[in-house]
Amino acid sequence: MTEARRYFRYHFQKSVPKLILELMMVLVVLLLIPKSYVGEEIIVIELMLAGIMIAIIMPSLEFSEFHNRRNLDTWFSLPIDRMKLGLVHYLNGALQIGTVLTFMAVGILFRLEANAIKNYGMYALLCFTVLAMCLLLYGLLCLAFTCANTSADGSTFVLAYLILPLAINLAVLSAATHFKWMDEPIDSFAIGMPVCLFTMRTGFANAIVGDGNALSEVFHDSWFVSRLVLNILICAAATVMMLFNFRNCHAEKVEDISDSWFGYRTLLPIYALCAAFFTYTYAGSVLLGIVLIICYMGYRRSSKLHKSDWAVIAVYFLVSLLVCGMAGRLPDMIP
Protein backbone atom coordinates (compact mmCIF):
# COMPACT_ATOMS: atom_id res chain seq x y z
CA MET A 1 0.00 0.00 0.00
CA THR A 2 3.05 2.25 0.37
CA GLU A 3 3.24 3.05 -3.34
CA ALA A 4 -0.49 3.75 -3.40
CA ARG A 5 -0.20 6.14 -0.45
CA ARG A 6 2.77 7.94 -1.98
CA TYR A 7 1.02 8.16 -5.32
CA PHE A 8 -2.17 9.48 -3.70
CA ARG A 9 -0.17 12.30 -2.12
CA TYR A 10 1.52 13.06 -5.45
CA HIS A 11 -1.72 12.91 -7.41
CA PHE A 12 -3.63 15.08 -4.98
CA GLN A 13 -0.92 17.74 -5.15
CA LYS A 14 -1.12 17.64 -8.94
CA SER A 15 -4.91 18.00 -8.74
CA VAL A 16 -4.79 21.19 -6.69
CA PRO A 17 -5.04 23.56 -9.71
CA LYS A 18 -8.13 21.64 -10.88
CA LEU A 19 -9.58 21.83 -7.39
CA ILE A 20 -8.96 25.59 -7.26
CA LEU A 21 -10.76 25.93 -10.60
CA GLU A 22 -13.74 24.01 -9.21
CA LEU A 23 -13.77 26.17 -6.09
CA MET A 24 -13.69 29.32 -8.25
CA MET A 25 -16.65 28.04 -10.26
CA VAL A 26 -18.56 27.27 -7.07
CA LEU A 27 -17.64 30.70 -5.75
CA VAL A 28 -19.23 32.26 -8.83
CA VAL A 29 -22.34 30.17 -8.16
CA LEU A 30 -22.35 31.30 -4.51
CA LEU A 31 -22.09 34.93 -5.54
CA LEU A 32 -25.10 34.46 -7.81
CA ILE A 33 -27.22 33.16 -4.92
CA PRO A 34 -29.64 35.84 -3.69
CA LYS A 35 -29.03 36.85 -0.09
CA SER A 36 -32.64 36.45 0.80
CA TYR A 37 -34.15 33.00 0.53
CA VAL A 38 -37.77 34.04 0.88
CA GLY A 39 -39.33 34.55 -2.53
CA GLU A 40 -36.16 33.36 -4.29
CA GLU A 41 -36.40 29.71 -3.27
CA ILE A 42 -36.27 28.23 -6.75
CA ILE A 43 -33.24 30.29 -7.82
CA VAL A 44 -31.37 29.46 -4.62
CA ILE A 45 -32.03 25.75 -4.91
CA GLU A 46 -31.26 25.57 -8.63
CA LEU A 47 -27.97 27.39 -8.07
CA MET A 48 -27.14 25.00 -5.26
CA LEU A 49 -27.80 22.14 -7.62
CA ALA A 50 -25.53 23.77 -10.20
CA GLY A 51 -22.78 23.88 -7.57
CA ILE A 52 -23.39 20.25 -6.71
CA MET A 53 -23.16 19.28 -10.38
CA ILE A 54 -19.83 21.12 -10.68
CA ALA A 55 -18.62 19.24 -7.63
CA ILE A 56 -19.55 15.87 -9.18
CA ILE A 57 -18.90 16.20 -12.90
CA MET A 58 -15.31 17.45 -12.86
CA PRO A 59 -14.00 14.69 -10.58
CA SER A 60 -15.81 12.16 -12.79
CA LEU A 61 -13.13 12.92 -15.36
CA GLU A 62 -10.46 11.63 -12.93
CA PHE A 63 -9.88 8.63 -15.17
CA SER A 64 -9.28 10.60 -18.36
CA GLU A 65 -5.53 9.98 -18.10
CA PHE A 66 -6.23 6.33 -18.81
CA HIS A 67 -7.84 7.02 -22.17
CA ASN A 68 -4.54 7.39 -23.95
CA ARG A 69 -2.52 4.37 -25.04
CA ARG A 70 0.81 6.11 -24.52
CA ASN A 71 -0.20 7.04 -21.00
CA LEU A 72 -1.21 3.47 -20.26
CA ASP A 73 2.28 2.25 -21.14
CA THR A 74 3.50 4.33 -18.25
CA TRP A 75 0.66 3.79 -15.78
CA PHE A 76 0.23 0.06 -16.20
CA SER A 77 3.95 -0.71 -16.09
CA LEU A 78 4.42 1.20 -12.82
CA PRO A 79 4.79 -0.94 -9.69
CA ILE A 80 1.25 -0.49 -8.42
CA ASP A 81 -1.74 -2.84 -8.74
CA ARG A 82 -4.37 -1.57 -11.12
CA MET A 83 -7.05 -1.84 -8.47
CA LYS A 84 -5.04 0.41 -6.15
CA LEU A 85 -4.29 2.81 -9.01
CA GLY A 86 -8.02 3.05 -9.74
CA LEU A 87 -8.78 3.45 -6.04
CA VAL A 88 -6.27 6.32 -5.74
CA HIS A 89 -7.96 8.17 -8.60
CA TYR A 90 -11.42 7.43 -7.23
CA LEU A 91 -10.48 8.65 -3.74
CA ASN A 92 -8.81 11.75 -5.15
CA GLY A 93 -12.04 12.62 -6.95
CA ALA A 94 -14.02 11.88 -3.78
CA LEU A 95 -11.75 14.19 -1.81
CA GLN A 96 -12.33 16.92 -4.38
CA ILE A 97 -16.09 16.44 -4.07
CA GLY A 98 -15.83 16.63 -0.29
CA THR A 99 -13.74 19.81 -0.44
CA VAL A 100 -15.98 21.56 -2.97
CA LEU A 101 -19.20 20.62 -1.18
CA THR A 102 -17.83 21.69 2.21
CA PHE A 103 -16.78 25.00 0.65
CA MET A 104 -20.25 25.39 -0.80
CA ALA A 105 -22.03 24.45 2.42
CA VAL A 106 -20.00 26.97 4.41
CA GLY A 107 -20.27 29.54 1.61
CA ILE A 108 -24.08 29.34 1.69
CA LEU A 109 -24.02 30.08 5.41
CA PHE A 110 -22.09 33.26 4.73
CA ARG A 111 -24.01 34.17 1.61
CA LEU A 112 -27.57 33.92 2.92
CA GLU A 113 -28.94 36.43 5.35
CA ALA A 114 -28.19 35.69 8.97
CA ASN A 115 -31.67 34.40 9.78
CA ALA A 116 -32.33 32.64 6.47
CA ILE A 117 -31.43 29.20 7.76
CA LYS A 118 -33.77 28.21 10.54
CA ASN A 119 -32.44 24.83 11.51
CA TYR A 120 -28.63 24.55 11.53
CA GLY A 121 -28.68 20.98 12.81
CA MET A 122 -30.78 19.83 9.91
CA TYR A 123 -28.67 21.90 7.53
CA ALA A 124 -25.51 20.10 8.69
CA LEU A 125 -27.25 16.71 8.46
CA LEU A 126 -28.41 17.46 4.95
CA CYS A 127 -24.98 18.64 3.86
CA PHE A 128 -23.62 15.30 5.03
CA THR A 129 -26.43 13.46 3.21
CA VAL A 130 -25.73 15.45 0.05
CA LEU A 131 -22.05 14.50 0.29
CA ALA A 132 -22.88 10.80 0.70
CA MET A 133 -25.28 10.88 -2.24
CA CYS A 134 -22.86 12.81 -4.41
CA LEU A 135 -20.20 10.20 -3.70
CA LEU A 136 -22.60 7.46 -4.73
CA LEU A 137 -23.54 9.27 -7.90
CA TYR A 138 -19.84 9.95 -8.54
CA GLY A 139 -19.18 6.19 -8.44
CA LEU A 140 -21.84 5.64 -11.09
CA LEU A 141 -20.42 8.38 -13.30
CA CYS A 142 -16.91 6.99 -12.87
CA LEU A 143 -18.19 3.63 -14.08
CA ALA A 144 -19.77 5.33 -17.09
CA PHE A 145 -16.51 7.12 -17.82
CA THR A 146 -14.29 4.07 -17.42
CA CYS A 147 -16.56 2.00 -19.64
CA ALA A 148 -15.58 4.24 -22.53
CA ASN A 149 -12.42 3.81 -24.55
CA THR A 150 -11.97 7.52 -25.19
CA SER A 151 -12.48 10.60 -23.02
CA ALA A 152 -14.98 12.02 -25.52
CA ASP A 153 -17.10 8.87 -25.24
CA GLY A 154 -16.59 8.87 -21.48
CA SER A 155 -17.89 12.44 -21.18
CA THR A 156 -20.84 11.53 -23.39
CA PHE A 157 -21.65 8.55 -21.16
CA VAL A 158 -21.39 10.70 -18.01
CA LEU A 159 -23.87 13.21 -19.44
CA ALA A 160 -26.10 10.46 -20.80
CA TYR A 161 -26.26 8.76 -17.40
CA LEU A 162 -26.95 12.08 -15.65
CA ILE A 163 -29.86 12.81 -17.98
CA LEU A 164 -31.06 9.21 -18.17
CA PRO A 165 -33.25 9.34 -15.02
CA LEU A 166 -34.88 12.49 -16.39
CA ALA A 167 -35.56 10.75 -19.70
CA ILE A 168 -36.93 7.63 -17.99
CA ASN A 169 -39.06 9.63 -15.59
CA LEU A 170 -40.47 11.71 -18.40
CA ALA A 171 -41.25 8.55 -20.36
CA VAL A 172 -42.93 7.00 -17.31
CA LEU A 173 -44.82 10.23 -16.73
CA SER A 174 -45.96 10.20 -20.35
CA ALA A 175 -47.01 6.54 -20.12
CA ALA A 176 -48.78 7.12 -16.80
CA THR A 177 -50.74 9.97 -18.29
CA HIS A 178 -51.46 8.14 -21.54
CA PHE A 179 -52.52 4.84 -20.01
CA LYS A 180 -54.29 6.65 -17.16
CA TRP A 181 -52.33 4.79 -14.48
CA MET A 182 -53.18 7.68 -12.18
CA ASP A 183 -55.75 10.41 -12.27
CA GLU A 184 -53.33 13.22 -11.55
CA PRO A 185 -50.05 13.72 -13.35
CA ILE A 186 -47.14 12.63 -11.18
CA ASP A 187 -46.21 15.45 -8.81
CA SER A 188 -43.06 17.49 -8.90
CA PHE A 189 -41.26 14.67 -7.16
CA ALA A 190 -41.01 12.87 -10.50
CA ILE A 191 -39.55 15.78 -12.34
CA GLY A 192 -36.83 13.49 -13.43
CA MET A 193 -33.77 14.45 -11.46
CA PRO A 194 -31.94 11.46 -10.10
CA VAL A 195 -33.62 10.70 -6.82
CA CYS A 196 -30.57 11.63 -4.79
CA LEU A 197 -30.46 15.06 -6.40
CA PHE A 198 -34.15 15.44 -5.69
CA THR A 199 -33.44 14.64 -2.06
CA MET A 200 -30.89 17.41 -2.03
CA ARG A 201 -33.43 19.85 -3.43
CA THR A 202 -36.02 18.92 -0.86
CA GLY A 203 -33.46 18.68 1.87
CA PHE A 204 -31.91 22.06 1.27
CA ALA A 205 -35.29 23.65 0.94
CA ASN A 206 -36.51 22.11 4.19
CA ALA A 207 -33.32 22.92 6.03
CA ILE A 208 -33.50 26.50 4.97
CA VAL A 209 -37.11 26.99 5.81
CA GLY A 210 -36.61 24.90 8.93
CA ASP A 211 -39.45 22.56 8.16
CA GLY A 212 -38.16 19.24 9.41
CA ASN A 213 -41.56 17.65 9.16
CA ALA A 214 -41.73 18.18 5.42
CA LEU A 215 -38.56 16.16 5.02
CA SER A 216 -39.69 13.35 7.26
CA GLU A 217 -42.95 13.21 5.29
CA VAL A 218 -40.98 12.63 2.13
CA PHE A 219 -39.19 9.73 3.77
CA HIS A 220 -42.51 8.24 4.84
CA ASP A 221 -43.47 7.91 1.19
CA SER A 222 -42.73 4.26 0.44
CA TRP A 223 -42.36 4.84 -3.32
CA PHE A 224 -39.78 7.52 -2.70
CA VAL A 225 -37.90 5.42 -0.15
CA SER A 226 -37.86 2.35 -2.39
CA ARG A 227 -36.51 4.41 -5.28
CA LEU A 228 -33.94 5.98 -3.00
CA VAL A 229 -32.79 2.57 -1.80
CA LEU A 230 -32.67 1.33 -5.40
CA ASN A 231 -30.58 4.35 -6.40
CA ILE A 232 -28.19 3.80 -3.51
CA LEU A 233 -27.81 0.12 -4.39
CA ILE A 234 -27.21 0.89 -8.06
CA CYS A 235 -24.62 3.55 -7.26
CA ALA A 236 -22.83 1.39 -4.67
CA ALA A 237 -22.71 -1.56 -7.08
CA ALA A 238 -21.49 0.78 -9.83
CA THR A 239 -18.61 1.97 -7.65
CA VAL A 240 -17.45 -1.59 -6.97
CA MET A 241 -17.96 -2.52 -10.62
CA MET A 242 -15.97 0.52 -11.72
CA LEU A 243 -12.94 -0.63 -9.71
CA PHE A 244 -13.10 -4.16 -11.16
CA ASN A 245 -13.72 -2.74 -14.61
CA PHE A 246 -10.61 -0.60 -14.28
CA ARG A 247 -8.55 -3.54 -13.04
CA ASN A 248 -9.57 -5.62 -16.04
CA CYS A 249 -9.08 -2.79 -18.53
CA HIS A 250 -7.64 -4.00 -21.85
CA ALA A 251 -4.96 -1.49 -22.70
CA GLU A 252 -5.08 -2.44 -26.38
CA LYS A 253 -8.73 -1.35 -26.65
CA VAL A 254 -8.10 2.18 -25.42
CA GLU A 255 -8.74 4.78 -28.16
CA ASP A 256 -10.81 2.19 -30.04
CA ILE A 257 -14.59 2.32 -30.45
CA SER A 258 -16.23 2.12 -27.00
CA ASP A 259 -17.72 -1.33 -27.04
CA SER A 260 -18.98 -1.68 -23.48
CA TRP A 261 -22.53 -2.84 -22.79
CA PHE A 262 -22.78 0.09 -20.36
CA GLY A 263 -22.11 2.52 -23.19
CA TYR A 264 -23.75 3.28 -26.51
CA ARG A 265 -24.94 -0.29 -26.93
CA THR A 266 -27.41 0.15 -24.10
CA LEU A 267 -27.83 3.91 -23.90
CA LEU A 268 -28.90 4.33 -27.55
CA PRO A 269 -31.83 1.87 -27.42
CA ILE A 270 -32.92 3.10 -23.97
CA TYR A 271 -33.05 6.71 -25.16
CA ALA A 272 -34.87 5.58 -28.31
CA LEU A 273 -37.40 3.71 -26.18
CA CYS A 274 -37.87 6.73 -23.92
CA ALA A 275 -38.57 8.81 -27.01
CA ALA A 276 -40.97 6.12 -28.28
CA PHE A 277 -43.08 6.64 -25.16
CA PHE A 278 -43.98 10.05 -26.50
CA THR A 279 -45.19 8.93 -29.92
CA TYR A 280 -47.47 5.92 -29.44
CA THR A 281 -47.64 5.58 -33.21
CA TYR A 282 -46.14 2.88 -35.39
CA ALA A 283 -44.78 5.52 -37.76
CA GLY A 284 -43.09 7.34 -34.89
CA SER A 285 -41.61 4.13 -33.51
CA VAL A 286 -40.30 3.04 -36.90
CA LEU A 287 -38.84 6.48 -37.53
CA LEU A 288 -37.09 6.36 -34.14
CA GLY A 289 -35.88 2.87 -35.01
CA ILE A 290 -34.31 4.21 -38.21
CA VAL A 291 -32.67 6.99 -36.22
CA LEU A 292 -31.42 4.33 -33.80
CA ILE A 293 -29.87 2.33 -36.66
CA ILE A 294 -28.19 5.48 -38.01
CA CYS A 295 -26.86 6.29 -34.53
CA TYR A 296 -25.52 2.74 -34.23
CA MET A 297 -23.76 3.10 -37.60
CA GLY A 298 -22.29 6.38 -36.42
CA TYR A 299 -21.06 4.76 -33.24
CA ARG A 300 -19.58 1.80 -35.13
CA ARG A 301 -18.23 4.16 -37.80
CA SER A 302 -19.45 1.59 -40.30
CA SER A 303 -22.65 0.59 -42.04
CA LYS A 304 -21.89 -3.00 -41.08
CA LEU A 305 -23.39 -3.63 -37.66
CA HIS A 306 -22.66 -6.54 -35.36
CA LYS A 307 -25.19 -9.30 -34.76
CA SER A 308 -25.56 -8.13 -31.15
CA ASP A 309 -26.39 -4.61 -32.42
CA TRP A 310 -29.15 -5.97 -34.62
CA ALA A 311 -30.43 -8.01 -31.69
CA VAL A 312 -30.66 -4.87 -29.54
CA ILE A 313 -32.33 -2.95 -32.36
CA ALA A 314 -34.79 -5.83 -32.76
CA VAL A 315 -35.60 -5.62 -29.04
CA TYR A 316 -36.21 -1.89 -29.44
CA PHE A 317 -38.64 -2.49 -32.32
CA LEU A 318 -40.42 -5.23 -30.39
CA VAL A 319 -40.89 -3.15 -27.25
CA SER A 320 -41.76 0.10 -29.00
CA LEU A 321 -44.28 -1.60 -31.31
CA LEU A 322 -45.74 -3.40 -28.30
CA VAL A 323 -46.16 -0.05 -26.60
CA CYS A 324 -47.92 1.24 -29.72
CA GLY A 325 -50.18 -1.79 -29.67
CA MET A 326 -50.95 -1.28 -26.02
CA ALA A 327 -51.72 2.35 -26.69
CA GLY A 328 -54.54 1.09 -28.89
CA ARG A 329 -53.73 3.41 -31.72
CA LEU A 330 -54.27 2.39 -35.32
CA PRO A 331 -51.07 2.13 -37.25
CA ASP A 332 -50.43 5.37 -39.10
CA MET A 333 -48.32 3.62 -41.66
CA ILE A 334 -51.00 1.20 -42.82
CA PRO A 335 -53.78 2.79 -44.86
Binding site: Y7, E65, D73, S77, P79, I80, A251
Partner: protein
Protein backbone atom coordinates in the same frame (compact mmCIF):
# COMPACT_ATOMS: atom_id res chain seq x y z
CA UNK B 1 14.92 -14.21 -13.63
CA UNK B 2 12.17 -13.62 -16.15
CA UNK B 3 10.21 -16.73 -17.02
CA UNK B 4 7.69 -16.70 -19.84
CA UNK B 5 5.47 -19.73 -20.10
CA UNK B 6 3.02 -20.61 -22.84
CA UNK B 7 2.39 -16.93 -23.58
CA UNK B 8 -0.18 -16.18 -26.27
CA UNK B 9 -1.87 -12.98 -27.29
CA UNK B 10 -4.15 -11.84 -30.05
CA UNK B 11 -5.82 -8.65 -31.18
CA UNK B 12 -9.32 -9.62 -32.18
CA UNK B 13 -8.92 -12.62 -34.40
CA UNK B 14 -5.32 -11.87 -35.29
CA UNK B 15 -2.82 -13.98 -33.35
CA UNK B 16 0.24 -11.95 -32.50
CA UNK B 17 2.09 -14.35 -30.22
CA UNK B 18 1.48 -18.04 -29.74
CA UNK B 19 2.77 -20.37 -27.04
CA UNK B 20 5.96 -18.49 -26.24
CA UNK B 21 8.24 -20.15 -23.67
CA UNK B 22 11.39 -18.45 -22.54
CA UNK B 23 13.77 -18.04 -19.59
CA UNK B 24 15.90 -14.94 -19.44
CA UNK B 25 18.97 -15.07 -17.25
CA UNK B 26 19.91 -12.09 -15.11
CA UNK B 27 22.55 -9.61 -16.27
CA UNK B 28 22.13 -10.03 -20.02
CA UNK B 29 21.64 -7.50 -22.77
CA UNK B 30 19.13 -9.20 -24.99
CA UNK B 31 18.25 -7.88 -28.43
CA UNK B 32 14.66 -8.45 -29.53
CA UNK B 33 14.56 -8.59 -33.27
CA UNK B 34 11.68 -8.72 -35.69
CA UNK B 35 10.25 -6.94 -38.66
CA UNK B 36 7.64 -4.20 -38.19
CA UNK B 37 4.47 -5.79 -36.89
CA UNK B 38 6.23 -8.96 -35.70
CA UNK B 39 4.92 -8.38 -32.18
CA UNK B 40 8.01 -6.95 -30.46
CA UNK B 41 6.13 -4.13 -28.73
CA UNK B 42 3.29 -6.47 -27.80
CA UNK B 43 5.79 -8.93 -26.32
CA UNK B 44 7.45 -6.19 -24.26
CA UNK B 45 4.06 -4.85 -23.12
CA UNK B 46 3.05 -8.33 -22.02
CA UNK B 47 6.33 -8.66 -20.16
CA UNK B 48 5.68 -5.31 -18.46
CA UNK B 49 2.16 -6.18 -17.35
CA UNK B 50 0.56 -3.51 -19.54
CA UNK B 51 -1.30 -6.07 -21.60
CA UNK B 52 -3.03 -9.05 -20.07
CA UNK B 53 -2.14 -12.20 -22.04
CA UNK B 54 -4.89 -14.28 -23.59
CA UNK B 55 -3.13 -17.28 -22.08
CA UNK B 56 0.10 -18.07 -20.29
CA UNK B 57 2.01 -15.86 -17.91
CA UNK B 58 5.15 -13.85 -17.33
CA UNK B 59 6.87 -14.37 -13.99
CA UNK B 60 9.45 -11.95 -12.67
CA UNK B 61 11.50 -13.32 -9.81
CA UNK B 62 8.68 -15.76 -9.13
CA UNK B 63 5.85 -13.21 -9.18
CA UNK B 64 3.26 -12.78 -11.90
CA UNK B 65 3.98 -9.51 -13.68
CA UNK B 66 0.30 -8.58 -13.46
CA UNK B 67 0.91 -7.87 -9.77
CA UNK B 68 2.20 -4.41 -8.99
CA UNK B 69 4.75 -5.89 -6.60
CA UNK B 70 6.37 -7.88 -9.41
CA UNK B 71 7.09 -4.65 -11.29
CA UNK B 72 9.06 -3.03 -8.46
CA UNK B 73 12.31 -3.93 -10.21
CA UNK B 74 11.08 -3.35 -13.73
CA UNK B 75 11.09 -0.29 -15.94
CA UNK B 76 9.46 -0.21 -19.35
CA UNK B 77 10.36 2.53 -21.78
CA UNK B 78 7.88 2.53 -24.62
CA UNK B 79 8.63 3.63 -28.18
CA UNK B 80 6.59 6.80 -27.63
CA UNK B 81 6.58 7.50 -23.91
CA UNK B 82 3.91 9.44 -22.03
CA UNK B 83 4.03 13.05 -21.04
CA UNK B 84 1.08 15.25 -20.17
CA UNK B 85 0.76 18.68 -21.74
CA UNK B 86 2.98 21.05 -19.82
CA UNK B 87 4.72 18.27 -17.89
CA UNK B 88 8.34 19.09 -17.22
CA UNK B 89 11.18 16.62 -16.78
CA UNK B 90 11.30 17.55 -13.10
CA UNK B 91 7.60 16.72 -12.68
CA UNK B 92 8.13 13.43 -14.44
CA UNK B 93 10.97 12.70 -12.05
CA UNK B 94 8.62 13.39 -9.13
CA UNK B 95 6.10 10.89 -10.52
CA UNK B 96 8.70 8.17 -10.85
CA UNK B 97 10.11 9.02 -7.44
CA UNK B 98 6.77 8.10 -5.88
CA UNK B 99 7.05 4.60 -7.31
CA UNK B 100 10.81 4.10 -7.27
CA UNK B 101 12.02 5.65 -3.99
CA UNK B 102 15.62 4.61 -4.72
CA UNK B 103 15.77 6.61 -7.94
CA UNK B 104 19.06 8.47 -8.20
CA UNK B 105 18.59 12.22 -8.60
CA UNK B 106 22.30 12.69 -9.33
CA UNK B 107 22.23 10.27 -12.28
CA UNK B 108 19.09 11.91 -13.65
CA UNK B 109 20.53 15.42 -13.37
CA UNK B 110 23.85 14.34 -14.85
CA UNK B 111 22.28 12.63 -17.86
CA UNK B 112 19.92 15.55 -18.45
CA UNK B 113 22.87 17.94 -18.33
CA UNK B 114 24.95 15.79 -20.70
CA UNK B 115 22.03 15.77 -23.15
CA UNK B 116 21.71 19.54 -22.68
CA UNK B 117 18.05 19.29 -21.60
CA UNK B 118 16.29 21.83 -19.39
CA UNK B 119 14.63 20.08 -16.46
CA UNK B 120 12.04 22.81 -15.99
CA UNK B 121 10.95 22.99 -19.64
CA UNK B 122 7.75 21.34 -20.81
CA UNK B 123 8.52 18.05 -22.54
CA UNK B 124 6.07 19.01 -25.27
CA UNK B 125 8.62 21.62 -26.39
CA UNK B 126 11.28 18.93 -26.85
CA UNK B 127 11.96 17.10 -30.11
CA UNK B 128 11.24 13.35 -30.20
CA UNK B 129 14.90 12.56 -29.63
CA UNK B 130 15.15 14.99 -26.70
CA UNK B 131 12.04 13.50 -25.10
CA UNK B 132 13.46 10.04 -25.47
CA UNK B 133 16.71 11.16 -23.86
CA UNK B 134 14.75 12.61 -20.93
CA UNK B 135 12.98 9.29 -20.44
CA UNK B 136 16.18 7.27 -20.78
CA UNK B 137 17.72 9.54 -18.14
CA UNK B 138 14.83 8.53 -15.90
CA UNK B 139 15.28 4.85 -16.74
CA UNK B 140 18.98 4.91 -15.88
CA UNK B 141 18.30 6.93 -12.73
CA UNK B 142 15.87 4.22 -11.62
CA UNK B 143 18.51 1.57 -12.49
CA UNK B 144 15.98 -1.27 -12.34
CA UNK B 145 16.91 -4.92 -12.28
CA UNK B 146 14.91 -5.40 -15.49
CA UNK B 147 14.94 -2.69 -18.11
CA UNK B 148 12.71 -3.16 -21.15
CA UNK B 149 13.40 -0.75 -23.99
CA UNK B 150 11.14 -0.57 -27.02
CA UNK B 151 12.70 0.85 -30.19
CA UNK B 152 14.95 2.94 -28.03
CA UNK B 153 17.28 4.07 -30.79
CA UNK B 154 14.49 5.85 -32.65
CA UNK B 155 14.91 9.59 -32.76
CA UNK B 156 18.41 9.59 -31.27
CA UNK B 157 21.25 11.28 -33.12
CA UNK B 158 24.50 9.27 -33.55
CA UNK B 159 26.17 10.90 -30.52
CA UNK B 160 23.14 10.32 -28.28
CA UNK B 161 22.91 6.75 -29.59
CA UNK B 162 26.48 5.95 -28.61
CA UNK B 163 25.97 7.58 -25.23
CA UNK B 164 22.82 5.52 -24.79
CA UNK B 165 24.62 2.28 -25.67
CA UNK B 166 27.35 3.11 -23.17
CA UNK B 167 24.75 3.70 -20.47
CA UNK B 168 23.03 0.42 -21.29
CA UNK B 169 26.34 -1.46 -20.99
CA UNK B 170 27.14 0.24 -17.68
CA UNK B 171 23.69 -0.61 -16.32
CA UNK B 172 24.08 -4.24 -17.43
CA UNK B 173 27.49 -4.42 -15.78
CA UNK B 174 25.79 -3.52 -12.50
CA UNK B 175 23.68 -6.66 -12.89
CA UNK B 176 20.58 -5.41 -14.72
CA UNK B 177 18.90 -7.46 -17.41
CA UNK B 178 18.16 -5.36 -20.44
CA UNK B 179 15.86 -6.33 -23.26
CA UNK B 180 16.00 -3.95 -26.14
CA UNK B 181 13.88 -4.20 -29.25
CA UNK B 182 14.64 -2.84 -32.66
CA UNK B 183 13.60 -3.44 -36.21
CA UNK B 184 17.01 -2.13 -37.30
CA UNK B 185 19.51 -4.95 -36.92
CA UNK B 186 22.42 -2.62 -37.49
CA UNK B 187 21.61 -0.93 -34.17
CA UNK B 188 21.85 -4.14 -32.19
CA UNK B 189 24.76 -5.77 -34.01
CA UNK B 190 27.73 -6.17 -31.75
CA UNK B 191 25.86 -4.59 -28.86
CA UNK B 192 23.79 -7.35 -27.35
CA UNK B 193 24.97 -10.46 -25.52
CA UNK B 194 22.25 -12.48 -27.13
CA UNK B 195 19.30 -12.19 -29.44
CA UNK B 196 15.65 -13.16 -29.48
CA UNK B 197 13.93 -13.33 -32.81
CA UNK B 198 10.20 -12.86 -33.25
CA UNK B 199 8.65 -14.02 -36.44
CA UNK B 200 5.14 -15.06 -37.38
CA UNK B 201 3.84 -15.25 -33.78
CA UNK B 202 6.76 -17.46 -32.74
CA UNK B 203 10.01 -16.87 -30.92
CA UNK B 204 13.45 -18.21 -31.69
CA UNK B 205 15.29 -18.72 -28.42
CA UNK B 206 18.54 -16.88 -27.67
CA UNK B 207 20.31 -20.24 -27.32
CA UNK B 208 19.36 -21.24 -30.85
CA UNK B 209 20.50 -17.92 -32.26
CA UNK B 210 23.77 -18.12 -30.28
CA UNK B 211 24.43 -21.70 -31.49
CA UNK B 212 23.93 -20.65 -35.08
CA UNK B 213 26.16 -17.63 -34.60
CA UNK B 214 28.89 -19.81 -33.05
CA UNK B 215 29.03 -21.96 -36.20
CA UNK B 216 29.53 -18.95 -38.41
CA UNK B 217 32.87 -18.59 -40.23
CA UNK B 218 34.32 -15.83 -42.33
CA UNK B 219 36.84 -16.79 -44.99
CA UNK B 220 38.91 -14.47 -47.13
CA UNK B 221 39.89 -16.27 -50.35
CA UNK B 222 42.32 -15.01 -53.01
CA UNK B 223 42.15 -16.29 -56.63
CA UNK B 224 44.32 -15.89 -59.70
CA UNK B 225 41.52 -14.21 -61.58
CA UNK B 226 38.37 -12.35 -60.54
CA UNK B 227 35.95 -15.06 -59.37
CA UNK B 228 32.29 -15.31 -60.26
CA UNK B 229 29.87 -15.25 -57.31
CA UNK B 230 28.29 -18.51 -58.48
CA UNK B 231 31.60 -20.23 -57.79
CA UNK B 232 30.76 -20.16 -54.08
CA UNK B 233 27.37 -21.87 -54.38
CA UNK B 234 28.83 -25.15 -53.12
CA UNK B 235 29.59 -23.41 -49.81
CA UNK B 236 25.97 -22.23 -49.42
CA UNK B 237 27.29 -18.93 -48.09
CA UNK B 238 25.28 -16.43 -46.09
CA UNK B 239 27.19 -13.59 -47.62
CA UNK B 240 29.68 -13.17 -50.51
CA UNK B 241 31.67 -10.00 -51.06
CA UNK B 242 34.08 -9.83 -54.01
CA UNK B 243 36.68 -7.09 -54.45
CA UNK B 244 38.94 -7.73 -57.46
CA UNK B 245 40.50 -11.20 -56.90
CA UNK B 246 39.63 -11.31 -53.21
CA UNK B 247 36.37 -12.81 -52.00
CA UNK B 248 35.04 -12.67 -48.47
CA UNK B 249 32.42 -15.30 -47.65
CA UNK B 250 30.37 -15.91 -44.57
CA UNK B 251 29.51 -19.59 -44.14
CA UNK B 252 27.73 -21.47 -41.40
CA UNK B 253 28.34 -25.12 -40.56
CA UNK B 254 31.15 -27.46 -39.62
CA UNK B 255 34.56 -25.94 -40.32
CA UNK B 256 36.05 -29.35 -41.16
CA UNK B 257 33.49 -29.72 -43.93
CA UNK B 258 33.78 -26.14 -45.20
CA UNK B 259 37.59 -26.07 -45.59
CA UNK B 260 37.84 -29.02 -48.09
CA UNK B 261 35.09 -27.37 -50.14
CA UNK B 262 37.12 -24.15 -50.29
CA UNK B 263 40.23 -26.06 -51.35
CA UNK B 264 38.26 -27.56 -54.23
CA UNK B 265 37.89 -24.00 -55.59
CA UNK B 266 41.69 -23.88 -56.13
CA UNK B 267 42.37 -20.58 -54.43
CA UNK B 268 45.82 -19.03 -54.33
CA UNK B 269 45.41 -18.70 -50.59
CA UNK B 270 42.67 -18.46 -48.01
CA UNK B 271 42.33 -17.55 -44.36
CA UNK B 272 39.68 -17.91 -41.71
CA UNK B 273 39.04 -14.50 -40.13
CA UNK B 274 37.34 -13.82 -36.81
CA UNK B 275 33.63 -13.13 -37.19
CA UNK B 276 32.88 -9.78 -35.62
CA UNK B 277 30.16 -9.77 -33.00
CA UNK B 278 26.84 -9.43 -34.71
CA UNK B 279 28.28 -9.97 -38.19
CA UNK B 280 25.97 -12.03 -40.30
CA UNK B 281 23.16 -11.59 -37.83
CA UNK B 282 20.72 -10.62 -40.53
CA UNK B 283 21.45 -13.84 -42.44
CA UNK B 284 21.14 -15.90 -39.29
CA UNK B 285 17.85 -14.27 -38.45
CA UNK B 286 16.46 -14.84 -41.92
CA UNK B 287 17.67 -18.42 -42.08
CA UNK B 288 16.27 -19.34 -38.68
CA UNK B 289 12.96 -17.63 -39.30
CA UNK B 290 12.51 -19.19 -42.74
CA UNK B 291 13.52 -22.59 -41.44
CA UNK B 292 10.84 -22.40 -38.78
CA UNK B 293 13.33 -23.22 -36.03
CA UNK B 294 11.35 -21.79 -33.18
CA UNK B 295 11.76 -22.20 -29.47
Amino acid sequence: MIEVSNLSHSFGEKNVLQGINLKIRDGEILGLIGVNGAGKSTFLRLMSGILTPKSGQVMIDGLNVQLGEARRNLFFLSDDPFFGTGTTADELYELYETFYPNINRGTFDRLMDIAGLQRDSALSKFSKGMRRQAFTALAFAVAPKYLLLDESFDGLDPVARERFKKQVRETAEKGSTIIISSHALSELEGFCDNYLILSETQLISPEKVADRMRNLYKFQIVFETVPDASLFDILEPQMVHIVARVATVLVSGDKDVIVPKIEKLHPLLYDCLPVEAGEGLLNTVTELAEGGEFA
